[in-house]
Symmetry: D2
Subunit: 299 residues, 4 copies
């Protein structure tokens, strides 16, 4: 199937595309179009070069002390990027919605004090300028995976983007969402698997680990895994974190809270800092083992 | 469970809520809070009074002639509201994205010529003012069911809103999305079931008809059914349209195209105008039969 | 794709098959192989001729009085076949497992007294001879849809078979299960849709009505709908029964109990006899409307 | 909820049960009932003691040479048990159904020559005596997870049983199926996760790794993982095998074929023997890392 271009794109890009016969509905994101891995670099972290950078932090930014305290812990344990939600998408309008701009200011302070780059979610075009000003890396959440206006705005940003998979998105829909971003000119995209909706009731979602090799086959973009939202329960998060490290994923994102029982959101799935230290050690050891993929060559 | 209010709401509303002990996470949308049906009136159509108003039209607005021609047909067949997409959410950035403002102008002309109110989808906050200016009824699509900024903006509109169910939304998530709209002051909400994502491959989605009685039990809001997007194939659309009329749904939305084979989107699921006439007759006849719910009283 | 025959089949059958190039993995069950509808006749009921025979009765046979009382009610209301489980597949080994042979004897008495043919589930090859001796029609349940030994045994029976769809069976897997039965020589198969497993929690299963037109397109076999097991809740059962009648299904199977609150299984989904009378009236009226399919011809 | 016993069980067992108030629908399989892990020993393999025994072999037994050749390879690589299907459940009656008794004889020869215990699937009660005679361990497949007659027969066997999870089985349904077996007196049950049916299309099934910690919390039974059937594609199998080793699963079952391209079933998901050697090394190295669960204690 040939991609039909119905809107203006740069001449040069069109030229390349015209010269590349495609058999997939996606174009710019496909490995067919760009065979070598895309590497996204933020601070010390490189996503896509065979390393396993870890993004860690609380679900929501709650206070300056909270984020600073957690950031120091996770940095010590080896995390490369700090996460924390300032704008929180919540099922209920009556749930805590995040601290907004104040949360972004707290995150900036974390970067200043610890040197860790920070990532936070942007929920709408209206707040994109604001988030972009404070965050080193912006996240588009599952519920917004097909918010096409937001994707286009992210495509115009100079910040790298974490694009979480929608809860019932097929591989193709997900890659097409990334295509919206790339098509506007932003190539620094990190895909993030975070669990899909299934009939299962013993976990919040079902982590789809098969999507990692499937993405790597179809696309040059790096893919990381978020076991915290997939599981929803601490013990399962730890198990899935090890499973994530055992795949050839390009990174892991984990929720850590200094006081999970009092967390304003998702406490049950947040690791204690002391657990996170142990989890980091084991994830790194596992990753070292699977790094060499020679067993996959003969197939 | 008591609803915890964490953001400002009008004093009066809070007073009512405080006086109503709730056992559900949703509040304003719940039947517990408001036992009688909400009725939403647009032109001749009333959603929620036991009638079965039908919304019909093409997936996308393609030209002035196209929409006028279809509108005259569907009005003759008994449709009460005309539908047509000016802004189209598409999986691929390379697919036809709709005519935008020009499409809205064509829809306004349809209203002027036929007297039919028009409904069209609004995809983002940026275009809400524009869409609101032309449409009698605005639609929030499946992919945006949890676009909370868009829901809040819709809550400030004086236009009634059709809120489509997300592809993998639970009943509770859907009602909570409606809660976001009501919480901002807009009570004129029509829920629309359009099929959910399942393992099934013989149809595009699986129409969840059980959600109709389930919604009516939980909420006072009217609920309509869109068999076209659920099925994705014309023959199945007809069957599901009859099934929809046989439930006590508050309306049906069906895609009709004067030339499905040439349609710019979703042609395979659009009915021919002559089919629509027959489908309308049978849907109305079926609805007349099921109108009296006496068999449900003794349970 | 050509069907590869790897086991012995009658010479004549093979000859026909060899002469019919097939593009589907199923053969004998396909409409490509046999274009005209298969009609299965049991007593006054014909499945597949455009009529809507209704099978009704309790989930489980509990006593002679219970089944006789319900049978008289449902016959008066117009049911053509009586259902009742003597062997009950139950998730828990500690739940009521049915009366076994005694239940079959009670069913035989129902037939004798009311003239209604009876259908009951057979759970294993071991009891097939026994069930066959008492039942006019044998049912293979969802959990056994791919119990291939049981399917083969059913294929050797002279009793018509109701083959329920497995909870997560694709259309193709279901038709292939029927192929196992036909391949052994039994052509009297009635398919029964009873809801699929999805992420949904407001109903026990999700009734997949699209499968009715999809089956009719692919296969010549009649297909009926069981709204009782799909919904699991009485109010939803009634709604889905009307929806079922509005499709061009070949029959409906509904659970009716004279005392649902005391039922030994599935009481919450059983209709009261007085409800069933009303439901039958409306189903028949709806079916009369949709009988003429002229609107489907031009597609 | 108290378990209601409606059929005869040994006096002693009832006494224990009566003295143990239960809050779960399952009883004998629950960790509440038996807090310590069940260990199932077959030859050198122990399932449930913290080790990671691997079961390997082809999907189907095809010839004496094939199974002997593969068995020697996988034994050298460290596999503890040999697998191979003699009776194959196949969606189509026209697909290769297995060699039957001849396949069992070939498996017995493998045991004799290599010393490896063998496991094979039993599809029905009719062939149970036969399979039991040849196999050290019997497998009940996904499609038969709720074939209650077969479960009861397995409960009367002195062979350990691998009980695969049904394609859409909840955790509770799966444990209740094991309860059927235990209730008949067989305590040597190994649960096997092999992927569930979801909307996903890039893999055959979706491996549900969260079920491992969930099972371990609810039940004392060992649980192993089959990445081959979950993935359906070789590259994904390798990734999922590592992920499986990184969880605290009690074993792994993998398909290996000496000539996957010519395999009579499931060739695309079978590893080459040389790949299997490398996969075994890495799985063992990973398992060594995660063996100590100290990080889970503080939660």
């Amino acid at each position: 199937m040939l991609v039909v271009m119905e809107k203006s794109t740069s001449e040069e890009k069109i030229q390349v595309m015209v010269n590349t016969p495609m058999t997939k509905p996606y174009k710019l994101v496909s490995r067919e179009f760009k065979p070598e891995n895309t590497q996204v670099t933020i601070g010390d972290a490189v996503f896509g070069n065979g390393s396993l950078p870890v993004i860690a932090g609380p679900c929501a930014v709650e206070s300056q002390n909270q984020v600073l305290s957690i950031a120091i812990s996770v940095k010590d344990a080896g995390a490369k990027i700090f996460r924390g939600g300032a704008f929180k998408p919540r099922t209920s309008p009556y749930s805590f919605q995040g601290l907004g701009k104040q949360g972004l200011i707290f995150l900036a302070k974390v970067r200043e004090e610890t040197g860790l780059p920070v990532v936070t979610e942007v929920m709408d075009v209206e707040n994109f300028d604001l988030v972009e000003q404070y965050a080193d890396l912006v996240q588009i959440g599952s519920r917004n995976m097909q918010n096409f206006s937001l994707l286009r705005r992210a495509g115009k940003s100079d910040r790298p983007v974490i694009l979480k998979r929608g809860m019932s998105a097929t591989l193709q829909e997900w890659l097409m969402a990334a295509e919206y971003i790339m098509e506007e000119g932003n190539n620094n995209i990190i895909l993030c698997e975070r669990g899909i909706r299934t009939f299962v009731r013993h976990s919040r979602n079902t982590l789809d680990l098969s999507v990692v090799p499937a993405v790597k086959k179809e696309s040059h973009l790096p893919i990381i895994i978020d076991p915290s939202h997939a599981a929803g329960v601490r013990d399962q998060v730890i198990s899935l974190a090890y499973a994530s490290a055992a795949l050839d994923a390009d990174g892991v994102m984990i929720e850590v809270h200094n006081n999970p029982k009092e967390a304003m959101s998702d406490g049950a799935q947040s690791l204690y800092p002391e657990q996170f230290i142990e989890v980091m050690k084991k994830m790194n050891a596992i990753h070292t083992i699977v790094g060499n993929n020679s067993e996959k060559i003969p197939c």
